[in-house]
Amino acid sequence: MNNSLSVKHLLGIKQLTPEDIQLIFHHAEKFKKVINQPIKKVPSLRDITIANLFFENSTRTKLSFELAEKRLSADIVNFSSSGSSVKKGETLIDTVNNILSMKIDMVVMRHSSPGAPHFLKENTNTVIVNAGDGTHEHPTQGLLDSFSIREKIGDLKGKKVAIVGDIKHSRVALSNIFCLQKQGAEVMVCGPATLIPRHIKELGVQVEYDLVKAVEWADAVNMLRIQIERQASCDKEVPNFPSLREYSNLYQLNKEVLIKAKNKPLILHPGPINRGVEITTELADGEQSVVLQQVENGVAIRMAVIYLLASHIKR
């Protein structure tokens, strides 16, 4: 196993090699032990300062990154665009360069524009971790989803994972597809045709419109959230499906679907859950669900990513 990542930034899973992913998992396992110790902290990043720039709303990702950074003993500053000079018209590069001139070593950024972290990488001089860029990628989520599946059913090579729901607006879907494929898993996407990107087959994934068939096929299903806010902003005129009720009738994961499919796959959900829409409470909290483990693993994965990227920062 290599001792360091092949990349200097985490912009997306697309740029990672399979070895990088294994290295991140290897360290995440160790960090998971650390966060379960009586003292949940290591001093590795004592002189590193990290800025969390959230230009878009987030609760769990932001909390998870913050916790990961604190567990590694980094100093952190938080920024959210509401109430900042962004509202006065400051450009992204100006905002970030101003923050960087306060001697920041690493930037964790969430932004509503796909490619924003790539743009920042070209125009600033810092280490960048993508915490979600629009509908593009959410690499740490992809990693933690794979890590959670791996923990339960072992090596992903040859395993079948179905991603169900709003594929079109989901950065989680794309990161998951890349991450799973790089580990040799088979990936299927499932949802109404209007929520499946037209050329997605070119990524080498199977497309299925029938939830029962997808559940029957899969070792694990990742139920995505219906992104009501993005439906409204992108497709105001032509909705992607007639109503939430109709969506739940066809694509809700519930007990009946599992019975029809005669299969009990592992159930993942990146959160926040719209209970009663894409999944029933019974299954979201049931024994096949790893939703809460995903949250715990999220901290360990983010610690691993930050730790490995920080090892490139010279003193």
Partner: protein, 182 residues
């Protein structure tokens, strides 16, 4: 130059036995004592000593753990190639216990210093005693004093002291390599 054998199998055995008897002398029935090996090579030695102690005195109640110090090293971001993390496995608290910390070779002392930090996560021990198979003299960079020493050797910084274990496919022995060996 041919590598010099510092400890052959026979001497190795004698020393392990002596270290065990020294431990028994100081720790009686080990009720309040835990033994913790530092990953990776200290764990092999700690295991060996643990098994030997159990053989000599089957009734002792000794707990045993493995400690990885990677995240506590003081050379993070100073090395070209980062160190790959290993596994910590300590299923007990060390609060109020006497800890026997075990490593194969004591060289600069920095690993041991990091281990002190790493141990704090598991409580405040009553005392920490250090046991090493080989103490390289005149090379300490921090003040660390082992209580139990297998053998003290004089070596220069460019030389390497290598402990070969049975698990490496060779009989247990300790070798001194000089930089011109390879």
């Amino acid at each position: 130059m041919k590598p010099k054998v510092l400890l052959d199998k026979k001497l190795f055995e004698l020393i392990i036995n002596r270290l065990c008897y020294e431990l028994i002398e100081n720790h009686d029935d080990f009720r309040n004592t835990v033994i913790i090996g530092i990953q990776p090579r200290g764990v092999v030695l700690a295991e060996l000593i643990y098994r030997r102690l159990k053989k000599i005195a089957p009734k002792i109640a000794l707990q045993y753990g493995a400690l990885d110090i990677t995240f506590f090293r003081d050379d993070f971001r100073r090395r070209e190639d980062p160190v790959l993390a290993n596994t910590t496995k300590i299923d007990f608290l060390i609060e109020g216990k006497r800890v026997i910390l075990v490593d194969d070779v004591l060289f600069t002392g920095r690993t041991i210093r990091s281990a002190f930090d790493a141990l704090l996560a598991f409580g405040r021990p009553d005392a920490i005693e250090l046991l090493v198979l080989i103490e390289r003299r005149f090379s300490l960079q921090v003040p660390v004093n082992p209580k139990y020493v297998g053998k003290s050797v004089d070596s220069i910084a460019s030389q390497r002291v290598l402990v070969k274990w049975k698990i490496d496919g060779e009989p247990d022995k300790v070798i001194l390599h000089t930089s011109t060996d390879e």
